[in-house]
């Protein structure tokens, strides 16, 4: 997935050479921290921020007792991850809603950060909450920027307001009047991308801010930004006193270290992130997930979410009932396979699990084809065979094998796997509700 190996691997490597018992020694921490530093820098965390962070973590880690069940490497990773999550902001932040309507949101950022697209995404997000947003075109410089926002607003089903190349502050003011007259409760002002060192254009933003009663000033930042992220964020914050940050293009394979740098330097909350090309692809920011992403530790929480999306509550309830009255059959098993495919296949899921780098799972170990084979086998069975797998004798198996283009051994393998899964799930079912993966 990534060019660089994850932090867990690096740290495991360090500790594999050391034999630590009881508590973490200073030397061990120092060696581990060197790896943490490289991981942070490769993730584009600002070097000054990384230095501070490491100092803090070292202080905390030295002498810390190693918890039962954890090895020293895991202990260090745990501390690093906790600290990182804390630094990233521990709660998610919502958008401010003004007591005096309309609520006014102003976007700002460098060229190409994704402001115009994000306007549309915010509009969709707000519409889902029952709001009526109006998008206002104040990018009077980039060719076809106004047209782009117009198309975006149509796609999002939001209102649109423009006054051509007129002064943006004036346009913003008129837009608010327009919103008041036409019942829009939220105004989103798209502004031109600009360099933070272009004083003239920064002044223009200040004028827009002064012309209307702005509730939110959201700085849009490309998640792939490098060391310069800090300079940019500081400059925008100083000029406009931004109220929040939006990270875009987080659907790439970037580690997104810029997120941490910006948060550390400005102290402003990260409110949303853009996670795809479609207008629906907007997510509320999760600090804990970002932490493990920066460290290259897999995204366990996202995995759980993904699983929960694919397996609906209803399905889960049905399944729980079946387990209880022992009626889990091959039909349900088939449904499980389909769920797994919905989640993007095994390879995708494995990629999201932490520690998988260490296991070095090769393509042939995860046999997507086997999944398809299993599906074909079940689909070649009669309804009776599916609900009562016990009746499967050699003749039936031979017929099923021929029908699915497999062998009797394959059919036997499936039946065996099914029995094991059933057994496993019975045990699972007694415990917590929730995740039910058939493997």
């Amino acid at each position: 997935m990534a060019v660089f190996s994850g932090l867990s691997e690096r740290i495991n490597h360090v500790f594999s050479k050391l034999k630590s018992r009881g508590s973490l020694t200073e030397l061990e921490i120092k060696q581990a921290m060197r790896e943490v530093r490289v991981a942070l820098l490769e993730a584009d965390v600002n070097i000054a921020v990384a230095k501070d962070f490491i100092k803090k973590v070292t202080e905390k880690a030295v002498g810390e007792e190693i918890l039962k069940g954890l090895n020293p490497a895991q202990q260090v990773i745990k501390i690093v991850n906790e600290e990182l999550t804390e630094l990233m902001g521990s709660t998610q932040s919502k958008l401010v809603v003004s007591s005096k309507l309309p609520t006014i949101i102003m976007m700002c950022g460098l060229q190409g950060a994704g402001k115009t697209t994000m306007c549309g995404k915010l509009a969709i997000h707000l519409k889902k909450q029952g709001k009526k947003p109006l998008l206002v075109a104040c990018d009077i410089y980039r060719p076809a920027a106004i047209k782009q926002l117009k198309i975006v607003s149509e796609k999002a089903g939001a209102g649109f307001f423009e006054q051509g190349q007129q002064n943006p502050a004036k346009t913003a003011k008129q837009a608010v009047e327009f919103a008041n007259k036409n019942g829009f409760d939220t105004v989103i002002v798209d502004t031109a991308g600009r360099l933070h060192i272009n004083e003239e254009l920064m002044d223009e933003l200040k004028q827009v801010k002064a012309s209307v009663d702005v509730d939110e000033i959201l700085l849009t930042v490309d998640a792939m930004t490098g060391q310069d992220a800090v300079t940019v964020a500081e400059a925008f914050d100083k000029a406009l006193d931004v109220t929040g940050i939006i990270m875009t293009k987080l659907d790439g394979d970037t580690r997104g270290g810029a997120t941490l740098s910006i948060k550390a330097v400005t102290g402003k909350p990260i409110k949303f992130c853009g996670t795809g090309e479609k207008l629906e692809d907007i997510e509320v920011f999760h600090p804990d997930r970002m932490a493990s992403r920066i460290l290259g530790m897999g995204d366990v929480l996202s995995l759980i979410d993904k699983a929960q999306e694919a397996i609906t509550q209803e399905d889960a309830a049905k399944l729980a009932k079946k387990l209880k009255d022992q009626s889990f059959d091959l039909n349900d098993y088939l449904a499980q396979f389909e769920n797994l495919q919905k989640m993007g296949g095994i390879k995708d899921l494995v990629g999201m699990l932490p520690g998988m780098g260490k296991l070095k799972i090769s393509e042939k170990d995860i046999d997507e084809k086997e999944l398809l084979r299993f599906k074909a086998i079940i689909q070649s069975m009669t309804p009776k065979e599916r609900s009562e797998p016990k009746i499967l004798n050699y003749t039936r198996k031979k017929r099923i094998a021929a029908g699915s283009g497999t062998s009797v051994q394959d059919v036997n393998k499936l039946v065996k796997n099914f029995e094991q899964t059933k057994e496993m799930m019975k045990r699972f079912g007694k415990g917590k509700k929730g995740m039910k993966l058939p493997f």
Partner: protein, 297 residues
């Protein structure tokens, strides 16, 4: 100096930071571990990346030792030499007919770069046609049309959402019949880890090879100078898909240093040929390793 003034101006902002600190650092004239640690930090803060930084630091350490250099100015020059050697490249030359396909992730400035390139080739007396193969982003072809108009070149476009390969096909046919010198292909921004979008790019690539095999080919990736280490992944995956020949580094008029191109050169050997230093049509410069390094240091 005139010609490079803009670059120098652009890079000056970065200079105030790192250049000043570097000079202070070298001035001390003691080249011990602390010195190299500090140098490492400075390079890292220019986005040079961990592995390229280590290589540069090691190289400098060796050279200072070998040649017994103790003079600060001389040491500084050694560092410059190392960086210039790493980045130096032959001038970007094309022979007609040439096809330049421009690729890159979203928002790096592909469309703007194409507008500027079109203008440059036009000024060199070449005939140019632009293929608007970004049929995905809203109003992308309108944006490109404005640039084509400014540059005074032809543009071939279809409707939003149509097949990009078909746009390219039409542009190639048109270019062949008119004996156009340069064909510039704008493609949709895509995050490099999106498999189906990379497949689309391969398809365009195949169409070009099939329809106009005699034309000279250049695949140009546009990188945003503000991008950090992810630029390495971008180059790697685009290079896997369509084999990249050249880099245009944009937005160098900000405070970003674009040091990641050093890491890219070290890892993939792909040269930077152009740098973008502003939004005007003439704000695209041929890359010059010495000016670039001069600007960084």
């Amino acid at each position: 100096m005139g010609f490079f003034k803009k670059i120098i101006d652009g890079l000056k902002k970065t200079q105030q930071n790192i250049g000043f600190k570097l000079k202070q650092l070298f001035k001390v004239g003691v080249f011990d571990d602390d010195f190299f640690d500090e140098l490492e930090t400075l390079l890292l803060s220019s986005d040079v990346g961990a592995s390229a930084t280590l290589e540069i630091v090691d190289l400098l350490r060796d050279r200072l030792e070998e040649e017994k250099i103790t003079d600060p100015d001389q040491a500084m020059n050694e560092l410059k030499d190392i960086l210039v050697e790493m980045l130096d490249t032959d001038p970007f030359e094309i022979k007609s007919p040439a096809i330049i396909m421009v690729v890159g992730v979203n928002g790096v400035g592909k469309t703007t770069t194409i507008g500027k390139l079109a203008s440059q080739f036009k000024n060199q007396g070449k005939s140019v046609v632009i293929a608007a193969a970004d049929t995905f982003r809203a109003a992308a072809s309108e944006q490109l049309e404005v640039w084509a108009e400014r540059a005074g070149v032809r543009i071939i476009k279809h409707q939003e959402g149509s097949d990009p390969a078909a746009v390219v096909f039409d542009a190639l046919s048109s270019a062949k019949s008119r004996k156009t010198d340069v064909i510039l292909i704008d493609t949709a921004g895509r995050l490099h880890n999106k498999v189906n979008l990379m497949e689309e790019l391969k398809k365009i690539n195949r169409v070009i090879s099939r329809e106009y095999p005699e034309a000279q080919r250049k695949n140009l990736i546009v990188l945003d100078a503000t991008t950090g280490q992810n630029a390495l992944q971008q180059v790697e995956l685009f290079n896997d898909a369509v084999s990249i020949d050249s880099i245009a580094l944009t937005k160098l008029d900000g405070t970003a240093k674009g040091g990641v191109v050093i890491a890219i050169r070290e890892k993939f050997g792909i040269p930077v040929d152009f740098i973008g230093v502003g939004e005007g049509i003439d704000d695209l410069m041929p890359f010059d390793a010495e000016s670039f390094v001069e600007g960084i240091l």
